[in-house]
Symmetry: C2
Subunit: 530 residues, 2 copies
Amino acid sequence: MSLTRRVFLQRVAQIGGYSAAFSAMHALGLTPASGASPLPELAADFGKGKKVVILGAGIAGLTSALELMKAGFECTILEARDRPGGRSWSVRDGSTVEFIDGTKQACSWSDGGYLNAGPARIPSIHTHLLDYCQKLGVPLEVEVNFSRSALMQSPKINGGKPVLERQVVHDTRGYIAELLSKAVNKHALDEDLTAAEQAQMLEFLAGFGDLDDGKYTGTSRAGYVSNRGAGPHKSTLNKPLALKELLAADFSKGEFYEEQIDWQATMFQPVGGMDRIPYGFAKALPEGMIQYSSPVTEIKTASNGVTVAYTQGGATKTVSGDFCICTMPIPVLAKTKNNFSAATQAAFSGMPMTALYKVAWESPRFWETENRIYGGISFLKDAVDLVWYPSAKMFAPTGVLVAGFNSEREDVGGLGMGGTNTFKPTAFGALPTMEAKFAASRQAVETLHPGKGQLLTKPIYIQWSNIPYSIGCFANNHLKSSDPAYAQLEAAEGRTYFAGDHLSHLVGWQEGAVLSAHHAIERIAAGMKG
Amino acid sequence: MSLTRRVFLQRVAQIGGYSAAFSAMHALGLTPASGASPLPELAADFGKGKKVVILGAGIAGLTSALELMKAGFECTILEARDRPGGRSWSVRDGSTVEFIDGTKQACSWSDGGYLNAGPARIPSIHTHLLDYCQKLGVPLEVEVNFSRSALMQSPKINGGKPVLERQVVHDTRGYIAELLSKAVNKHALDEDLTAAEQAQMLEFLAGFGDLDDGKYTGTSRAGYVSNRGAGPHKSTLNKPLALKELLAADFSKGEFYEEQIDWQATMFQPVGGMDRIPYGFAKALPEGMIQYSSPVTEIKTASNGVTVAYTQGGATKTVSGDFCICTMPIPVLAKTKNNFSAATQAAFSGMPMTALYKVAWESPRFWETENRIYGGISFLKDAVDLVWYPSAKMFAPTGVLVAGFNSEREDVGGLGMGGTNTFKPTAFGALPTMEAKFAASRQAVETLHPGKGQLLTKPIYIQWSNIPYSIGCFANNHLKSSDPAYAQLEAAEGRTYFAGDHLSHLVGWQEGAVLSAHHAIERIAAGMKG
């Protein structure tokens, strides 16, 4: 970049902030094409005179509106809820959580604490969503997805008492390195590695496992029983956990969690809650473009346009458009009157909805003051199998602790969440009442942090299959059996195009919703050009 | 915690901020004893009438003053520089870097960019330093110590083109898991693992390496050539790197870096620069307690007190005290007139000073906009072997890029920095001029980020062995040969007690300086009581 450009950008940043500087950099061609978006470049008057009705003000609907508006289309968004974002929803002081079954929970957390009820993390590789955050001026902060000071617990290790994640990770590495070194030295791998490679491998393993003459005898990486001090105050290493116990305990969920592609460092979260993103989109759209509290009652699609009926303030209204982008969840569509083909109607039930849940509490931050856990996740082998510490407002007096985030059914295979492809209830899902679920959640904290379960107050339970206008968390398109429905919904129904994270290969992620909106626009534009 | 206490703390936090709430929690006994500090509990009048002269306003000196003041001692700190902090020093717009050899560099970076010339990270386990940050109201933010989107480069892999850290880490894991599975299946480890353990191990390895029927054939953890998209846009995985090349490239420094005990997540940095900590201490001390620009010229210690001579504004002055805590670096002490024993004088040369350096530049954040690297470190095999991306002000237009942080001599064995215990110059240290060093630094960025080397401007070079009043980075007490000097300096010289990170088992870390200050107070108090 020439000095002139740099000075120019600095001035833009001084005057207009980072967001303006970002736009300027983009205009100068200094930001790259961000991976795989199919969003076509459209002239500002490309959609002039064309109306698009967008169903749903979640990330897919909001992205669609923002991009279509830039290309000259006239947009209306119908949103059933009284807020934008759909599952990109932050529950905080003043929020009410209402279930389909009528259960109501009021939230009154302190210190600005919040729960991201749906998506809660943005990995660095979700470039399109990150770019929208910059364009919309949504401040981000680092989300700490793992802490080596977090805990792992199983009845099969250390007499059931929690151990540090750094012990599990590094003792395991030590044993793996020792065993593989032994196998190399026994010439068990002579067919796989040349003599030179064997020497290189032994050298690497000595570092990988912090071995002492080929043996694993403990490592400072696993931490100390007594810490390093000053003067004569020397440290004592944690005694290695027994390999036998590590194998029996099977901490693989916790050990592999941080390395799933979408959970790798560096990760972000919007400062103040994930809903800062949809509110950022909503602010960038003209007043009135989003019609809130307007649930759709009927979709009539045709080869030349679409008419959608909805209710608003007790009245039934209709809106027509040249195109429709429909981002409504498929179980909601399955219950909404429409004139789609039988194949499409069948597809609405062709991808099972996951039954994810979260339980969160307000609590003093004992995990920070006593355990020195700042962010990250502890894992245990119980009905509630993880406790997730807040990355927001570290060092504040209280925080929102997520004690329980998983599925209520064993239907999350392929998502790295440790489930299988059956639809049986999980141990948590089988608990009969909300009280029993809160008790299990509190117990998980007590098991990891003895004496601290009693400090938890003001629980909030998010049961996604019981949330109106969602009726489940996301459509599980990872299953082979979901392929026909996925393929069917890729086809337009007249002038209606389906979009949403469930119609992307990033289901359950906002990035998938963004890309599916871009793909819908790609198809609309191709149809208009063609 | 009872509701009453919680409400009380919330009110304290509302009125006085987190710092006040922290003090209140401490008073309520809600924070734990923080590990291994030897700081004694002393009554507020314990030191009444006693004067302590503290030499050096680095972290050890500042901690000493704060704690002694609380116990009723009267303190004076003599500081050679015109600022507090010593090596806890942030270089930013307006700073001048002056070398012993007369070289001067003026810094004029934009956007609030800074370089932490000395310590730049605070791990969660450095609990005493973290607690001082809370007590002093120094805001912290997460320091991102690794990013899976960072790069690794060696001429021996991928034709010399950089590869992603996530490829190196996960392809390596895949091959290790495959090889160890093979060895288990060949019964090479039957003496080490029972049949049941072998089955558990194979299951674990399948997850650890993301194996496909015992073979490593690639993993989504290593990322994509083409990313997951919407609709029909499927992804393609990165092709696994060849094991042969991974072994030849030897990325062990980069692969093991993040898991050294002091570099494990979660890590922090003060918002705005590490020097926010010493300035926080200085603000908490009475005006005038720190005498700046007052280099010590002579220390006379005796069995009943200490007299220290120093220069200030051209004049020579003296100050006397009942005790002295001397935190001056040992090479400075070796050149300062004193009446210490011959053994102590010899000890001042008994621990070699490390010759660490840093080179930093202002640059537009191409690593964020193009590589999606947010914080973390890239590694290469060159004179400059790492490039460290800023965790501060991510998404800002420009940032301060550290291209080079290591030793100029091969004398950092045992510090996890990849050196040995010889004192030969490293490839970087052997470069003849500052210009050659800047060129090597720029070249490292160019090698990792082709075309971007030219974007770097306004370099700053910190050569610790050339910094007045430091004369080296830290005394390397990790060496066996340093043990006698370490032991000697543990003994008081009359009423003079030596302190500093070099007299702790956390040398080079601020936590070590804090603990050594606590240890000095422990010894002074024990002497007074005894």
